[in-house]
Amino acid sequence: MSHETLAVSLFLLFVAGTLLITVWASRHTKDATDFYAGGRSFTGVQNGMAIGGDYMSAASFLGIAGLIALYGYDGFLYSIGFLVAWLVALLLVAELLRNSGRFTMADVLAFRMSPRPVRTAAGVSTIAVSIFYLLAQMVGAGALVALLFGFTSEFAKAATIALVGALMIVYVVFGGMKGTTWVQIVKAVLLMGGATLVTVLVLGKFGFNLSTLLRDAADQSGKGGAFLEPGLRYATEAQGLAGKLDLISLGLALVLGTAGLPHILIRFYTVPTARDARKSVLWGIGIIGSFYLLTLVLGFGAAALVGTKEIAAANPAGNTAAPQLAERVGELVFGEAGGTILLAIIAAVAFATILAVVAGLTLASSSSFAHDLYAHVFKKGKATERDEVRVARIAALVIGAVAIVLGIFAQRLNVAFLVALAFAVAASGNLPAILYSLFWKRFNTAGAVSAIYGGLGAALFLVIFSPVVSGSEKALFTGADFSWFPLENPGIVSIPFGFLCGWLGTMLSKESNPAKYAEIEVRSLTGAGAEKATHH
């Protein structure tokens, strides 16, 4: 049996399993709390695993392993930002959000402000961030199928994107948060299992000596000692000061963006209490941290055993480093059949990874559309729960369809920057609005609206005029050059700008409501009046 047949079989097994879960979940999804928040009945451990499943995207798994395999140490910089970011969520956001919100990020903002403008802004930002992220994952899926299964035709790529999109729509429309959460839990187990297996085999080849592994990786990379130091990918000598500032800009977006990502925030609503939200973040940190340590070995292992040249030849971004490593180490340890089997496993896991993440993104954006825009802005809070859930399902279908079409059109474009952009927007617009809402008494509607639109607008504006959109070989539009902003990542400007807009908007408006602040402060810290879990 070829690895393609085996990988497709394993993947179909995953699909069959997750569809069964979806059928089960749809039978247990009766009201809005079930659809948006899984009935708030997941345990801290389950939600911690789902957090891992939601967060460890293809960009983390294939992307970081690939970055390390091609550029050495610099790939590691990315994973550290992704991990440290969880402390912001743990210390400042998770529990307070669980106590004061219901279904979406906007619930916390609308708590003490004029609901319509604030929900409109939060809904726009949620959908924008989710679509950017979604698009990057969809295009990634199309590229992956070509690399893993040898389907190079445009049609095969488009069909893969459509298939991934159709599955994510099914998970969300029928399974809601319950189905999506279980898909993410299953994926987290498979991903951790697959990554651990390959890591152990790789370390075994080097007698469990990290230093030997690093030496071989440095030798095989052709770059010597520099491969183990920062500077080959980010802030290279040739880039000068702009490169160094870009590195800080990226670091800021990664570390501050996570706690503003809508698909991450809604995960905190799926548990019964704030204490369970805390526990789920602790488990999430454990799982995600361990995973990034594994990717460190996978990346350097791929450089050492496969070789940087061979990896770059298969995919210039290194996205197939992990699957290539799985095949090589399988061959070295178990012979040819072992390589085939291991490659198939990792390829199937990569697809499961993409599916779980895109389902989470679709759910976050359709929830926000139905709960924030439809129920509270269009219907002014007069929609019934039934109606809201129906709209959420239709929204999931529409957003999924839009993502499929955009994904197919964007497949020849370089959209890798979209993940970093999603983090930058989340850090620049959403995070200031959330933090000010929870901790600043004076904060008001004008402040919230200014922070979100200011942060979102600044990040988008700067990226449009950055080298990732035009004026470089790797740009979105290679034929044009209208770039003047020297950095690829807008965070270093747009994050302070978002915070500044929130402050300025607040100060320029006379609105102030100390009684409502007292309520959100008491409720967020004590859990009084917090939404309870439902039991059926």
Partner: protein, 114 residues
């Protein structure tokens, strides 16, 4: 749980100004705010050194293991450590007060039921 019923404002404002709540908020903020500043500074130091102090980061410590790798791994260690410290702090110093206040607020006749 004693709140001053004669004081003005809403029920939540009266609970907000109670000594128990003030203590809860003080304990929460006194841990969360400086710790956030500390780990952000520690992380930024790492990023800045990766950009500007290449020679230092490339210094080998044992075998092929250099300062950059150890510094990066220390970010993992500090993240795990801070997460554990916070959960211990919350369980010991925050949860008991929060539980008492929540019961008091929820059993207060003047609070609207959600």
């Amino acid at each position: 749980m004693a709140i001053d019923r004669q004081a003005g404002g809403t029920v939540y404002e009266r609970f907000q100004s109670s000594t128990e709540f003030q203590e809860l908020r003080r304990r929460f903020r006194r841990f969360a705010f400086p710790m956030t500043a500390a780990f952000l500074a520690w992380y930024l130091l790492y990023v800045v050194l990766s950009g500007w102090a290449r020679g230092f980061m490339g210094t080998k410590i044992v075998g092929e293991i250099n300062v950059a790798l150890v510094f990066g791994l220390l970010q993992f260690v500090s993240t795990f450590l801070i997460a554990w410290l916070y959960s211990r702090h919350a369980e010991r110093s925050l949860d008991p007060i929060a539980d008492g206040l929540r019961t008091a607020v929820e059993s207060d006749g003047e609070v609207e039921k959600p």
